[in-house]
């Protein structure tokens, strides 16, 4: 039996001390090579990380860091009481599972061997589905979707028409993100109001930016008219950016006035679009989520928001470490990497 919310809060406060400081991050970024990076990382709460032989070192590092992230998430989940635990499971595990499902769908879409698909997945126990291997071995995308019946992703079947219409996978990928948003929003109903609004905002901003980026992408598809006609069917979940705005993005001749006219934070997040720096949009989204997570702690430091903050900050930290490690392995000048990091150095 879980000891309750106060225990979760105290536990998360103590776990927050495990997060890396800006100076830790700076030292890691200045490690010079991947061996130095791993040596420095071993002196942090991450401990020893051994890269697998015969595997691309950056992939192996990402997998190892994902293991560490999952370990930390599980610690929080173990301490979470009752329905809050259920919410946190959806919030974290479903989020990671959606990434895995997208990778399985992509693999089946192009006919990749199941072993390659499995190697690309986040190494986690399935959350809403029974077995990833079974999905990876399905004959095609339609079969993968049919094998998802009876899981939280059952509604994906409704997007199959769009898959056939556009002969592309993006409607399914978008629907998966939307399913995650709806599920988190539904589960968040059990949370205290402050935590509920923080959780919805954390995921909502992400969904909105995903929708805007999808809309930008869809400006170039051949059946743009069909996209506009079926906008409600394609974008099943929205937060603060509604269908009208999405429609305007798809139809607009020039994006500049549209981006500038968006409300905050979307105007700031999408601003790099005007300089053709797409990667910076994601960096800014992550920075905004980090700010939200930190703000969440400020307003609700002795509530559920601490757990949400801890989980989000861990995920962002893991992403930054993967980026630094990749940059070191590839011999990329560190200033090219650090400008996209979430963590302030």
């Amino acid at each position: 039996m879980s000891p309750g919310l106060p225990y979760l809060v105290v536990r998360c406060h103590s776990l927050l001390g495990r997060l890396l400081t800006p100076s830790d991050m700076r030292r890691l970024a200045e490690a010079g090579d991947i061996e130095g990076f791993l040596r420095l990382l071993s002196h942090t709460p991450y401990g020893e990380i051994a890269l697998e032989d015969g595997v691309d070192p950056s992939i192996s590092l990402e997998r190892a860091l994902n293991y560490k992230l999952l370990g930390r998430v599980e610690e929080v989940l173990r301490a979470a009481p009752g329905r809050m635990g259920a919410f946190l499971e959806v919030f974290t595990l479903m989020r990671l599972e959606v990434i895995n499902l997208k990778r399985i769908l992509r693999g089946r879409f192009t006919g990749l061997p199941p072993s390659s698909i499995m190697a690309s997945l986040i190494p986690m126990q399935p959350y809403g589905v029974a077995d990833y291997g079974e999905l990876a071995e399905a004959g095609d995308v339609v079969e993968v979707v049919s094998r998802l019946r009876g899981t939280p992703y059952e509604a994906l079947e409704e997007a199959l028409d769009l898959l056939r219409l556009f002969d592309a996978l993006w409607p399914l990928e978008l629907r998966l993100s939307h399913l995650y948003f709806s599920e988190v929003s539904r589960e968040a109903e059990v949370l205290p109001s402050v935590a509920r609004s923080i959780a919805r905002r954390l995921i909502g901003v992400e969904v909105d930016v995903e929708n805007l980026l999808a809309a930008i992408k869809l400006r170039a598809v051949k059946k743009r008219g069909e996209v506009l006609r079926r906008i409600g069917e394609i974008f099943t979940s929205t937060y603060l950016i509604d269908h009208e705005v999405i429609k305007r993005v798809i139809e607009a001749e020039a994006l500049q006035p549209l981006v500038k006219g968006l409300d905050h934070p979307y105007d700031w997040i999408l601003e790099p679009l005007l300089e053709d720096d797409m990667a910076m949009i994601r960096a800014r989204l992550r920075r905004y989520i980090r700010t939200l997570a930190m703000d969440g702690r400020r307003v609700d430091d002795y509530g559920m928001s601490v757990a949400l903050s801890y989980i989000m900050l861990n995920e962002l930290e893991k992403d930054d470490l993967v980026s630094i490690g990749w940059g070191l392995i590839q011999g990329i000048p560190m200033e090219d990497v650090t400008r996209y990091l979430t963590h302030p150095l």
Partner: protein
Amino acid sequence: MSLSGVRPTKGFLMELKRRIRFIERGCEFLKLKRDHLAKELSASIEVLKGRRRLLLAELREAYRALTAAYIALGPTEVKSQARSVRRGLKVDIIPRSVMGVLYPYVRRCEKPSIEGELDVTLRRVAEKMMEVIDDVIRLAEFEARIERIADELGKTNRKVNALENIVIPQHKRIIKFIEEKLDEESLDDLVRIKLIGGALARRRE
């Protein structure tokens, strides 16, 4: 061609003279070809230098975008998305010719289909890479063309040198040898005729 096997006959001399005229004409053509190839090569090298500089700048930009995409999405996600592209790049290689020099011409038959499939970050990289790949193909084609022209220039030069310094002088030497031999023979014949004519005149007396 050594002088030992030479038949010092008028027929052979005429044949040799016909042959040397043909060789000299061929040599003139080869010199023309050599000059053309040399001109083409030096012009192409200038163009190549410019194209390479442009391509390097484009590549730098594409790699910067790719680096940013890897950082934004993570290596596993980039690989997963890149594999979701169903149609790859397909090219046909067709032979083309410039002054009889064959070089490969690359025709792009199928573009990778990235429409809607990739994340916008990666899509931008893919678009940049597609532009660069087109330029890489054109540059590779141009480099192959220059290489072939340089090869052909070398061969033509060797042929011209061989004709000018070996084949033509040798033929001229043989012609001279045959002409001298024929002159000698005709002189012998003249002397012989004169002697026979003298002997016949004496017998008639």
